[in-house]
Symmetry: C2
Subunit: 344 residues, 2 copies
Amino acid sequence: MRVAILAHELFPNEAKTALGVLRYADDEIVAVLDRDNPNRRVNEFVPDVQDAPIVTGMDDLEDDEVDALLIGVAPIGGGFEESWREDVRKALERGHDVISGLHYFLSEDDEFDRLAEANDCELRDVRKPPEDLSVSDGIASDVDAEVILTVGTDCGVGKMTATMELVADAREAGYDAAVVPTGQTGIMIEGWGMPVDRVVSDFTAGAVEEMILEAGTDHDYLFVEGQGSIVHPAYSGVTCGILHGAMADRLVLCHDAGREAIHGYESFSLPPLSRYIDLYEDLAAPVSESRVVAGALNTSGLEDSVAREAVNEYEAAIDAPATDVIRFGTDGVLETLLESGSDR
Amino acid sequence: MRVAILAHELFPNEAKTALGVLRYADDEIVAVLDRDNPNRRVNEFVPDVQDAPIVTGMDDLEDDEVDALLIGVAPIGGGFEESWREDVRKALERGHDVISGLHYFLSEDDEFDRLAEANDCELRDVRKPPEDLSVSDGIASDVDAEVILTVGTDCGVGKMTATMELVADAREAGYDAAVVPTGQTGIMIEGWGMPVDRVVSDFTAGAVEEMILEAGTDHDYLFVEGQGSIVHPAYSGVTCGILHGAMADRLVLCHDAGREAIHGYESFSLPPLSRYIDLYEDLAAPVSESRVVAGALNTSGLEDSVAREAVNEYEAAIDAPATDVIRFGTDGVLETLLESGSDR
């Protein structure tokens, strides 16, 4: 699919979704829309992702070079910026699908709904959960696939990135591995999944279970994208539901080097890393034996000279192999995750 | 308010909501509608609740003796039985409000919506969460009120009952205590609250926090009705969200005597009671210091001769005072919950 990504005024630093898609999606990115940076290219800002020209709007693109427009930003609150309307309107008039992870559902916008109908194209609100969800049956462990779940010390510590890198490298090494996407960016990249943070709270575990049952027959290894943190004052319910719904065989503890308090909730200190391991394992235990067997440390805030030492210290603290998946790759960690599976 | 309770064919054993309302609500219950038991009285079936005549339908009641009809049953799935339609229609035609905790929202039923509009009465779907919920700010502990949360070893072990009895006895002893209702029956009894199991999963803790902030300025003690169990394969996310959203000072561990496995998920054994205490306290700790200081044991399945001994054993297992709130009252337990508050 040939995709244009809307990221007006927020590219690259505040366009997490755009970056995730540029880094991981199989789609061909024909352009990024950012009226602040016309005539530049993606790689001028971010070198290690798919390159694409930056344009000011849909008018700069030809009708026949795009299949879909993707909203690549997720402002706090998830609202729709009216300054984006012209580009969305134009995309629909040309018959392009529009993909969005906003809390504001484009399919419930009268004008967009009418345009999509008239031009026979689709409004894909990936954050809209399916209607037919239900409670978990507690049977995710019935699948033959090994289930690996990324868990975190906080939000925004690299769970999605670790998940994507591990699956990519596992596939490259010849393993049949798949991502189970639980958030909007993961869903856009993979083309399926469920926005677990948006389902009815009673169905949190059930949504994850349903995905695992669906994907578990087709693959040998499932890497479930975790959300939040088990000690997060606001989001722990989602984390806990995913932990019990996934019934994972193995956990990867993800952390952001140097973070000492919950982001945005600075009065809450992060507990020691060993405490996280106890909490995740002890909480999982009555439902499934899930062990933290590896770690992923985001060292993007550190200089090269200290990043390796930070990873070494992290390994010592969690008593398991660890890496920064972007900086150092997944060697060592990946083998541990795939090997320990063969013991079962 | 004068209330008629609909419980056709399910009274009393499968009408948990009706029983909760009969036991705890301040409303005057003018009748229970049960076409299977006409000309009987509630107390013939359940002696220790508010008594009322049982009638076959709204036709047996006079226009001016009822203010509201309450749906007192919650079938699995939460659907609306068409055999109830005639009674609901009649209630609305007479201008009575209709209160429902079904997953099927009466306010979205075209006929009911039209009748309510025409007769200037209200369809109150208590399971419909408010539209304006948001994520938790992690500030529930800012309230001056002492916050006490009932937590459980499983669903259906008596958390709501313990909450209601403790608050009733605290009030009788002269304390300013209030219930924070998190489920449909509690909401109907108290006339306010939020169906936490129906909110968007990201807002679980936020919904509880909002209620505590609202009620915390008006009362000295808040007793938060817990839901589910922290080790429940399906519902643990809701439990975890309530635990962190409430930031409770004290926890009451509720258990059903003799239960050994998760109800409806029999392959999952309940862990030892001491493990529950560790899990609840350790999980709460990074967000709030919440201690299990008392227990509530449901001994309704035991003979009189062994019930006291079961409570004694439970006290020993959790190392805290405990009781069966229905069978033995709240003495001892209540003092512990209220006294320990004054230490702060």
